[in-house]
Amino acid sequence: MRTIAVVGASLAGLRSAEALRAQGFDGRLVVVGDEPHEPYDRPPLSKDFLLGTADRESLALSDPDALAALDAEWRLGVRADRLDPDTREVHLSDGSSVVADGVVIATGGAARTVPGTLSLRTLDDAVALRAALTGGAERLVVVGAGFIGAEVASTARKLGLDVTVVEVLPIPLGRVLGPEIGAVCGELHLDHGVVLRCGVGVDQVSSSGVVLTDGTMLPADVVVAGVGAYPATDWLADSGVAVGNGVLCDQGGVTNVPGVVAVGDVARWSGQRHEHWTSAAEQSSVAVRNLLAGHTVAVHDRPGYFWSDQYGVRVQFVGETHLYDEVRYVDGTPEDRKFAAVYLRGDAVVGVVAMNNARHFTRLRRQLGAATPSTPAP
C-alpha cells in the first residue's frame, strides 16, 4: 500500500495512524479530521476542562514531536463527504480528494441533539458550555442521566449551579449497568443536592426552561442534553460499505469492502458497537494489522471497559450486563459509595462494577468469564 487515508482525527484515528507507523507502513499517510483541532482527549471535557482546572494544552493526545514523527498529512477542519468504493477516493468538503489504497474509517459519533439545548461532544461544545455555565447562570437542567449528563451535572454543582437532571427511563443507566447499580448512580445525584426526575420526558424547551411531559415547568438558564450519540456514517451512503447502526465489521474491524477497515465509536465489530475510550484505542492496532495484511489476521475480543468520574466517585465497569441473573457485592456497600460487585450469569462472572474501589475492580476483572468468583484478599 502506498497511500492510506485515516478518516477521523480523534482517539481512534490517531491511534490508527500511530499503529500504521509502528507496524511499518512507510507510505503516504493522510489523516482527515472535521474538527480544526489536533487530536485531543474527550473524557476531560465533561470533567476538569468544564470545571476549568484543565486547559486545552492538557487535552492533547500527542505531543508535537510525536505528531511530527508520524510524518502524516493532516487535513484538519475538513469533512469527508463521500467514499468512492471503486477507486477508494475520499472526497472532502473543501472540494479536494484523497485517492488511497487503504482507508481507516474512524469518524466516531455525533451527539444526538434536542432543539433548544446545548450538547457536549467536542472541544468547541465544551468551550460553549463552560461559557454558558460560568456566565451568571444559576439554574441548569440536564436532559439525560447517562454518563455525560451525570458528569455535566456533577461539574455544574461544583460550579455552584442548581441542577435538575431529567431521565425518561425509570432508572438512570439501567440499561448499561442494570437496575441495581443504576439506582445507586441515581442516588449520587441526590447525595449532592441535585434533583433527579426519572420516568418523565421533555415536552418542550424554551428560553425560560423546560416543560416536561407531565406538565411540570422547570425554569432554567441553561439546558444541556446528554442523550447519546449516533455513528457518523452519513458520508458512507452509496460507498458500498455496509452500514447498520455503525460500520459493519468482523471481529478484526474489516468491512465488506477490500482495503477498508473501521475503528472506534463508528465501528460495529461482530454486531457490537462500543462507544468507549479503551475500545477505540485497542481496536486501532488490530484493524491496522488486518488492513496491512489484506485480510483478517488478528481479532479484538476484550470485553468493553469504561469509567466515569462524577461527584468525586469513580465508577468502573467491564463486561456486559444483559441477561445477568444477579449482582453480588464482593467488597464494600453501595451505601458507602465504595464497593466492588460482580454480575453473575449462572456461576459465571459476566461483568464487574466498582465505585471508588479500583483495587478490587482490578482484581475482579481478571475473573471475567471464570466459573466461580472468589473474594480477593483484602
Binding site: A281, Q316, A358, T362
Partner: protein, 104 residues
Amino acid sequence: MIRVCTVIDLPPGEAVRVVAHVPIAVFNADGELYAVDDTCTHQDASLADGWLEGCWIECPLHASSFDLRTGMPNGLPAKRPVRTYPVVVQDDVVYVDTAVQDVA
C-alpha cells in the same frame, strides 16, 4: 528516608501507599521491594491499586503497565515513566529513600 511499614505488612503481591512529597507506592514483587510514584503519568489513578504481575504494575484505570525496576511504561496511553526510589529494609522496617529519584 520515609518509613513505610514493617516487612510483614508488605507480603508478596501487595502494595502500600505512603505520602511523601508526592504519593509513593511500595510493592513487594515476589520478594523484591520496589518504590515508584503512585500516580500514573497518564491520568489520575493510584498504581498501588493496580495489578502486580512480576515486576510490572498495571494501572487500574487504563491498563498501561510500568516496569517497577525502571519506571518505564510498556506502551500507550502512558508515555512518561514514573519515578523510582531506592527501598531500604532495616530491622524489619521498610523505608523509601526519597532523596534519590531516578527517572529512566
